[in-house]
Amino acid sequence: MFSANTEKDREEMLKAIGVSSIRDLLKQVPGKYLYPAFDLPETSLDEQQTARRMKALAARNTAPLSFLGAGAYERYIPAAVKALISRGEYLTAYTPYQAEASQGILQTIYEYQSSVCALYAMDCANASMYDGASAFGEAVRAAVRITGKKKILCQETLNPQYLQTLKTYFADSAEYQFVTVPHKDGLVDPEKLSALLSGDTACVAFQTPNFFGLPEDAPGISEMAHKAGALVVTAADPASLGLFAPPGEYSADFAVGEGQSLGLPLSYGGPYLGIFSCKKEYVRQMPGRIAGMTRDKDGKRGFVLTLQAREQHIRRDKAASNICSNEALCALSATIYLALLGPEGLKELALANARAAAFAAGKLSAVKGAALKFKAPFFNEFVLEVGDAARLRERILAKDHIDIGLPLKDLYPALGQGALLVCATETKTEEDILRLEKALRENI
């Protein structure tokens, strides 16, 4: 379809090769495997038909007014971000193996690493991981490698998707011990944490704001962990860092996050952006690509991929990770997003989220039959009690075209069937929230 070869080109090339047909080039493939029957369409679509088919499929996603969060957040994407990342020079390049011909992308990676360090207040960052959960898994792996210990403490209110991914990243041995730190009123119970910390703890791995939307006492948790000789791995929503203390301010050893929050589309789960950062003493334990600044022969500033002795293409089975392709274009998107926001815009973004959620919580908890589950302050999502959350969700989705949020019963049976995780980001207006309030009032 997209081949440029004409019949004449093909003939000329076959002649230059010295064969009479393409079949002659395939003699190394045992004939019985060649050209089997394929159960695929005989005809293809042209471009216009393809565009039409894709549009029709996209339209079958019904796009309700949605209050879902739980690790992926609806964001406003600035027009300049979309315009810049669709430039072919970025879009269609690959990993900058030839640094001199790829200074553009290399400099943007360096700027990305710098922005992540600024945002998380950490020493160094890599060029990206697949998503927040895989970054979290790799960070905990690094903590286990560094300490040589096998006990991992995780908060009970860690995003269950992160916990599942984390366990997958530790499938190499049955020796790891995952210990859950219970919550008290939605937050890590400090007494339980203290009791569970011991000399053989590799790290305390936690998320803030936690799965229920509540910012943890991260400084307190970090201090307790460090006192016990454990490392600290924090997953923090980057959008929350315009208001809340960044991991570096409480000495986290590894800080990761889901960069989707930095202006990436939801796209049913990906491509997202695994943010990965750490203290400088652990730089050689970082997985993945890293860009560094250097000089050229004339002393001029330039950028290269560096510290590659950690990576799979050099170290093979001794590498820090197997990651090769990453999420570079998503990292570029986040870099441009952060450059547009600046420190003020980031704060405004965080405030817009916090206020939208506060407004929603105020309105919704005043609905008869609804109440806030936890008293602790929240960022942009909160748990609401609504009777039968799953049934209510189905009904309001069908009737009012609103997705009211995520029922938590399957993930946290102890919370009961009423628990609903409701999220309001900067994309939600007063009108949107009042529509939700009305729907709840009418259906609860």
């Binding site: 493939v29 949605s66 193996y97 553009g104 360096y110 208001l243 090769c324 989705l397």
Partner: protein
């Protein structure tokens, strides 16, 4: 080192001017945030302060000092740098797809679920595998998923003693790295003199400790494993599974079904075979195809179709679980799906045929000057080596690669596969024209002449890029990784 010349390559942070603003978020809601004093951020992050125009100009300028498929021939072996059709971009960006939350109710996600379901089905048809998952985010992530499935399979069979993964020495680094990440021992086997797996050597390593034989087909030398039948039979007889690294599937698409070769698990790379853009290093999208006996281990959720409705199914007790938080890189998969829609089964075979034709043309025109590692015809890529006239003068593949940049060509993959000394791995792909390849060939031949006459010209290359050759040693010795 942040004191280096600030003339023309300042960072966004260096262009920052306090008080400048790009985008704003105005608050209209009457509500008060609640940030406990002890949890508030103390110092604002040092992000650049720029106007929207500053940002647009900065990143537009940077884009101009970057080679890409759109702007330059990019024959990076093993990476399949083919043209990325623009209609795919439009399709993936449609609000209905881009705005869909990963935890959306199935009823609100029928379009995406139908697309993923049909994509899985088409991939099964194309590869001859029985079931597919599209959750892995890339090739290496697919290997991780595939080997986890193998691990779960042997655990269920009570064969925990199978702890070894055999990889040929020509394998990509991700193969042994993935094996090690999952607690397997990576066993390296030496390629035979023809660059293919030597069945006798394989036999010596196969046994009741072998879990998986990982094969790349065609392999990283661009060669098909001609004795695949014998190899697969031998491995299966030893009780091992066959994993096929499908990074090079562009050579087989529409020509050969790996399932018929006896492969048990294979991956595809949407960002290679299925024309999704590489994005400066990613995102890609992976996917794993398995045979029936391994289907129960695939990650959750699976997509099911019940009386015309698509459903996400989490009830798979033997599933390996999750490899990332949410479903795969769906935005990338949408592009791959649009690409498949534009190809009939015959046209799919045409992709591989033209890719193979182009690679052999390149090889046949260059090999007299740049000796080919293999004398056989190649599949979709060929591995060449530098002329002895140049190596005798102390010139290396790296020098040739850097000189190619001056001619406006991205260099091929170099120094890989590791078994070829000074490897130059060229993959033109089916979308490049003969005209472009001829220009590349002319440049390669000219570089040979230049190097023979004036080796320093190559050693100092590139001469025309925004920077001269960069000091990688210093970068690694005194890492400067952030502003």
């Amino acid at each position: 080192m942040n004191d280096i010349s600030r003339s023309d390559n300042r960072l966004s942070m260096e262009k920052s001017d306090p008080g400048r603003r790009g985008i704003r978020f105005k608050n209209t809601l009457k509500a008060k945030e609640n940030v406990p004093a002890g949890l508030a951020r103390k110092t604002a992050p040092k992000l650049p302060e720029l106007s929207e125009f500053d940002v647009v100009r900065h990143y537009t300028k940077l884009s101009k000092i970057n080679f890409s498929v759109d702007t330059h021939f990019y024959p990076l072996g093993s990476c399949t740098m083919k043209y990325n059709p623009r209609v795919n971009e439009e399709a993936a960006a449609l609000d209905g797809f881009a705005g869909l939350h990963p935890l959306a109710h199935d009823n609100a996600a029928q379009g995406t679920l139908e697309m993923l379901y049909d994509l899985e089905k088409r991939l099964c048809a194309l590869t001859g595998m029985d079931a597919f998952t599209l959750q892995p985010a890339a090739g290496a992530h697919s290997e991780f998923t595939g080997l986890l499935i193998a691990k779960a399979y042997f655990a269920k069979k009570g064969q925990d003693e199978r702890t070894e993964i055999i990889c040929p020495d020509s394998a990509h680094g991700t193969n042994p790295a993935t094996a090690a990440m999952l607690g397997f021992n990576a066993i390296n086997i030496k390629s035979g003199p023809d660059g293919r797996v030597n069945p006798d050597d394989l036999k010596a390593h196969l046994g009741n400790k072998t879990a998986v034989l990982m094969l790349t087909v065609p392999n990283t030398l661009g060669l098909f494993e001609s004795r695949i039948e014998e190899i697969v039979e031998m491995a299966h007889k030893a009780g091992a599974l066959i994993y096929m690294d499908g990074a090079n599937f562009n050579a087989l698409i529409g020509l050969v079904k790996p399932g018929e070769l006896g492969v048990d698990i294979m991956h595809i790379n949407a960002h290679k075979t299925f024309s999704t853009p590489h994005g400066g290093g990613g995102p890609g999208a992976g996917g794993i195809g398995v045979k029936k006996h391994l289907e129960e281990f695939l990650p959750v959720p699976r997509i099911k179709k019940e009386s015309g409705t698509y459903k996400t199914d989490f009830s798979c007790p033997d599933s390996i679980g999750k490899v990332k938080a949410f479903f795969g890189n769906v935005g990338v998969l949408a592009r791959a799906y649009a690409y498949l829609l534009m190809h009939s089964k015959k046209e799919l075979g045409g992709i591989a045929e033209n890719a193979i034709l182009n690679a052999n043309y390149m090889k046949s025109r260059l090999q007299e000057v740049y000796p080919s590692y293999s004398k056989d015809h190649c599949m979709h890529e060929c591995v060449l080596t530098p002329p002895s006239e140049l190596t005798a003068k102390g010139l290396k593949t790296l020098d040739i690669a850097k000189r190619l940049l001056d001619y406006g060509f991205h260099a091929p993959t170099i120094y890989f596969p590791l078994i070829v000394h000074e490897a130059i791995m060229i993959e033109p792909t089916e979308t490049e024209s003969k005209e472009t390849m001829d220009a590349f060939i002319t440049a390669m031949l000219e570089i040979k002449r230049e190097g023979a006459a004036d080796p320093q010209l190559l050693k100092d290359a590139p001469h025309t890029m925004p920077v001269k050759r960069l000091d990688e040693v210093q970068a690694a010795r005194q890492p400067n990784l952030r502003w």
